[in-house]
């Protein structure tokens, strides 16, 4: 994969988000979509995705258009993974990113529907991410033999 693939997938994601927002909310969605596309072009993908998520939450959530929300989330996911297409281990990165995102988002949604509270899913999500990052850090140390047997920290 090359920078061209990165541009193609990212652009497609931005187009999907713009189209979904426009279809769901009309002119405001179109304006937000255009702004999103501009940001995608000039900012790192994670910042663009954060902005896109705010658009989805602000414009699409009140409409209860679940299909368009899912469409926009798909577009945001495409924008999020597009930078990895220019890196090594593309399949590993894309699969892990998409897989983790789906698991995390699904878990959040299930917990929210079950508890009707946002606090528990937020707590579990952030804890899971923190544990995941720290776990990988420890795994790296074990792989490189830096951790002594019986060491606790």
């Amino acid at each position: 994969m090359t920078d061209r693939a990165q541009l193609l997938v990212g652009g497609l994601g931005a187009l999907i988000v713009t189209a979904g927002a426009t279809a769901a909310t009309g002119i405001p969605g179109l304006l937000a979509g255009v702004l999103f596309t501009v940001l995608w072009y000039v900012l790192p993908a994670t910042y663009t995705v954060a902005f896109g998520q705010i658009i989805v939450a602000a414009l699409l959530a009140p409409t209860n258009a679940a299909l368009f929300v899912l469409l926009c989330e798909g577009g945001l996911l495409a924008v999020l993974v597009s930078p990895t297409l220019a890196l090594d281990q593309i399949r590993f990165r894309v699969l892990l990113s998409v897989g983790c995102a789906v698991v995390f988002a699904g878990g959040v949604w299930i917990l929210f529907r079950w508890q009707s509270s946002i606090w528990l899913p937020a707590l579990i999500l952030t804890s899971s991410i923190a544990v995941g990052i720290y776990g990988l850090h420890r795994y790296d140390r074990v792989l490189r033999g830096v951790v002594e047997v019986g060491e606790t920290s």
Binding site: S97, V108, I118
Partner: protein
């Protein structure tokens, strides 16, 4: 593994979405946090995989040339990095030499860019202190391509450098190419006194102490006889070392001066062993630089040694202002004396005076020339207190032959024995061994000069130099002689 500012910025973005979700009670914002968190985790997992693979497959070699050096010399270090496949991340590999190595200011690290599979960097290090030093493994710093993580690990060979002190090895001290085991041994005094070794039995003369009468000899000879013994005395050694510019010739740590210094150290050690007084004088281009009168104290021997180690070739800081016309020894004609004698001859018109006058003119010039030489001047102006028990050890080279010849003659008048240790220039000049036949001819010339010095009574001249180079010069002649004999037969 370390995280970068970009990592914290992205994580902060996720935190911002989470807080926003809690504030506005909007779970969709948490989906954004989930996506960003998943993205970071995926990048971290990929980075761990890459680094683990790289740390297994990367080959890092630190090679050092030469591995054995003398202190102060340069060592070339080559850092080579090879990866079996193009590197997926950017690597910075830095060599970590021992702390004792002096930095030459050169770059000690190399970069392996993305998609490169090899890199190389060479630099020089200097080792001011002797010892055995082992390099640490090279330090590899890898930065993930997503820009979230970086890590450092050690890998590669750990070469060792042996740094020897700056002193010559394989020293040859000898006569005409033959090694002498002990150039400095028991000394005869030819004096009679209260020793243990019998010298002679002679007839009693008035004034001899009665306790010296040998009664058995007296009974046998029917006249009073006394037995005399070899007198025991502590010989005083005065080491005079030449550290003028010509003594700087040779490889670092193996210069003429380094060899001369080793011999001087041997004499000091010998003097310490026998509790004999030992002194030191050093002569540089500007004149006398060290003047340590003979003494026989343990701490004094240590001072002598320390002083010897501090001597460097060149001008030095003369401790004595060098004035050729200063205190003249009675044993040698000064330019003034020569002038007086010449002026007396000027007034005479006899054929003898006419014939002799030109010789006095040239003698004046000659004495002028010799007097201006620091080695000769030092010997002339610094005579020993007790010439009968003093031995002079001259450590110099064959660069100033005229001066040395005169200096040795003068020293012999002032000391009971003179030992001259010469470092032949031919054995120290760089590149002399490329033409061994010329080197051999020059060595013969040196040998002739050395023998010439030994013509003076109680003067012994030794050659001092590297054994391997001397062998190379002598062996070449043996080989060519064999070839000539084969050709003639």
């Amino acid at each position: 593994m370390r995280v970068t500012r970009r990592f914290w910025a992205t994580l902060g973005l996720g935190g911002f979405l989470t807080v926003g979700a809690l504030v506005v009670a909007q779970p969709l914002l948490l989906v954004g946090t989930a996506g960003i968190g998943a993205f970071i985790l995926a990048q971290q997992a990929a980075f761990v995989r890459t680094i683990h693979q790289l740390s297994d497959e990367l080959t890092i070699v630190q090679s050092v040339s030469p591995t054995t050096v003398v202190a102060g010399s340069d060592v070339e270090v080559v850092l080579e990095v090879t990866a079996p496949s193009p590197s997926p991340v950017e690597l910075s590999i830095s060599s970590t030499p021992p702390l004792a190595a002096a930095d030459s200011g050169e770059q000690r690290k190399t970069q392996l860019a993305v998609n490169d599979d090899s890199a190389r960097q060479s630099f020089r290090l200097q080792w001011p202190v002797a010892g055995k030093y082992e390099f640490n493994q090279a330090t590899v710093t890898a930065s993930g391509r997503a820009g979230f993580f970086e890590t450092t690990f050690s890998k590669g060979s750990t070469p060792t450098v042996t740094v020897n002190p700056r002193q010559p090895r394989d020293i040859h001290i000898g006569l005409g190419g033959s090694q002498v085991a002990a150039p400095f041994g028991p000394q005869q005094t030819n004096d009679r006194g209260s020793g243990f070794d019998p010298a002679e039995i002679r007839e009693y003369v008035p004034g001899d102490p009665a306790r010296q009468i040998d009664w058995k000899a007296t009974a046998r000879m029917d006249a009073p006889h006394i037995r005399t013994f070899e007198a025991e005395t502590n010989l005083t050694t005065t080491v005079l070392i030449d550290h003028r510019s010509s003594m700087a010739m040779g490889d670092p740590g193996e210069t003429k001066l380094d060899y001369a210094r080793q011999v001087a150290l041997g004499f000091i050690a010998d003097a310490q062993q026998t509790d004999s007084p030992c002194g030191l004088r050093a002569v540089a281009d500007g004149g006398l630089t060290v003047q340590m009168l003979p003494e026989a104290r343990k701490e004094y021997y240590e001072r002598l040694r320390n002083t010897l180690y501090t001597i460097r070739t060149g001008d030095g800081d003369a401790t004595m202002t060098y004035t050729p016309e200063s205190t003249a020894s009675q044993a040698v004609s000064t330019p003034d004396q020569a002038r007086k004698r010449a002026s007396r001859l000027q007034n005479e018109s006899s054929p003898f005076a006419t014939h002799l006058r030109p010789f006095f003119d040239s003698t004046t010039q000659y004495i002028h020339r010799i007097n201006e030489k620091p080695l000769y001047h030092t010997i002339r102006t610094q005579p020993p207190r007790d010439p009968e028990t003093n031995i002079a050890v001259l450590l110099t080279d064959d660069s100033n032959r005229v001066e040395l010849r005169e200096a040795v003659k003068l020293a012999r008048q002032q000391y009971t024995q003179v030992l001259v240790f010469l470092t032949p220039t031919v054995l120290f000049e760089p590149g002399t061994l490329t033409d061994v036949s010329t080197a051999y001819t020059r060595y013969l010339d040196f040998e002739s000069f050395r023998r010439d010095l030994m013509q003076t009574r109680d003067v012994t001249a030794f050659e001092v130099g590297p054994q391997d180079r001397l062998n190379a010069v002598l062996d070449s002649q043996t080989a060519s002689g064999r070839a000539n004999r084969r050709a003639s037969s």
